[in-house]
Amino acid sequence: MIDFIASMQKVLLEHQLITAFAVVGAIVWLSYQISDRLTAGRVHGSAIAILLGLALAYLGGLITDGKKGLADLPLLAGIGLLGGAMLRDFAIISTAFGINVNEIRRAGMSGAYSLLLGIFISFFVGAAVAFSFGYRDAVSMTTIGGGAATYIVGPVTGAAIGASSEVITLSIAAGLVKAILVMVATPWIASWIGLNNPRTAMIFGGLMGTTSGVAGGLAATDPALVPYGAMTATFYTGLGCLLGPSVVFIVIRFLIG
């Protein structure tokens, strides 16, 4: 019997990506059932699916002690490929098909300003929180500020200006909190902040910047907005890595004397 189970497992292990399609298909199906039957369609199925995905990722982390959520379970490693940056970006780019070029042209400038504003707000909010928790040197404050931008900007900035590994870990955690919060909260706050047209989607992408958060949050709000938000968000991390160790670091060092 054990032999039998082992050989069945082998099928799944050898076809990781196919297993991932099946598992994700089941998660999405279940989520749409919950959306229809328990919330009468009020909560979007994709919002529930993302929440469910995050909950499973937490479980995966608890079970394996790893950093890749469900994908750390050998049987479900294919989910890591399916949800990895390569296929995610491929799918994001494909959503540009059928985008309205005039909307981009019209909202382009507001998107660019949102990027800069979003980066600076995140850095300074993160730095202020770090300060209030007793991290009062410019290097730690800038690094944690970078984490409040995205979980990539934080460690890149920290490495560039020589932050301690403890601070870098904190900055990654701050970035993860932001990415997850944006994924979960966007559908709930969308109507408050007027997130219902391409132009505010571009502004939103620029202000938030976390590609995974924006990609998930907008998908759960209105998939038609995804390409507009993603368009600006993809510039954020690169710009953050540029501005963090340079302009922001100098300003923070100047401010705390």
């Binding site: 994700v24 699916a49 780019i93 540009a96 909010v125 409040a148 955690a173 997850i180 390409p227 540029l242």
Partner: protein
Amino acid sequence: MVIYGVGLLAFCMLCGLICGRALGWLIGVDANVGGVGISMLLLIASCEFLRHKGRLLVASQQGIVFWSSIYIPIVVAMAATSDVRSAITGGPLAILAGVLATVLCAAMVPVMDRMFRKGQSQDDGGLAKGHGDD
């Protein structure tokens, strides 16, 4: 053929990522600056071009549309592989920094929207005139 659409999508992505990487190299950061955004613009431009020439067949479009319709499952897979445990165990500092940055930036969305909508009404007039001259 469907593969033409998928191939075009792949080609746009690779070109865009190379441009993004080059942009990063130019400004001196080891990161991709807007590669995905550039890829999207390339895809839009090449589809427009092919449509004008009447070469964008329905089958080729399906190769692109498939990927955009599989987008949500991919995002679910992304959520299922994120490091939720580290985010939660990061402690109050990490949580507060992440939450405050998100809340403040979200609050700026309507502000930015209003600011640029004001400037827009004048721009629109100019644009409309420009198009008339074309």
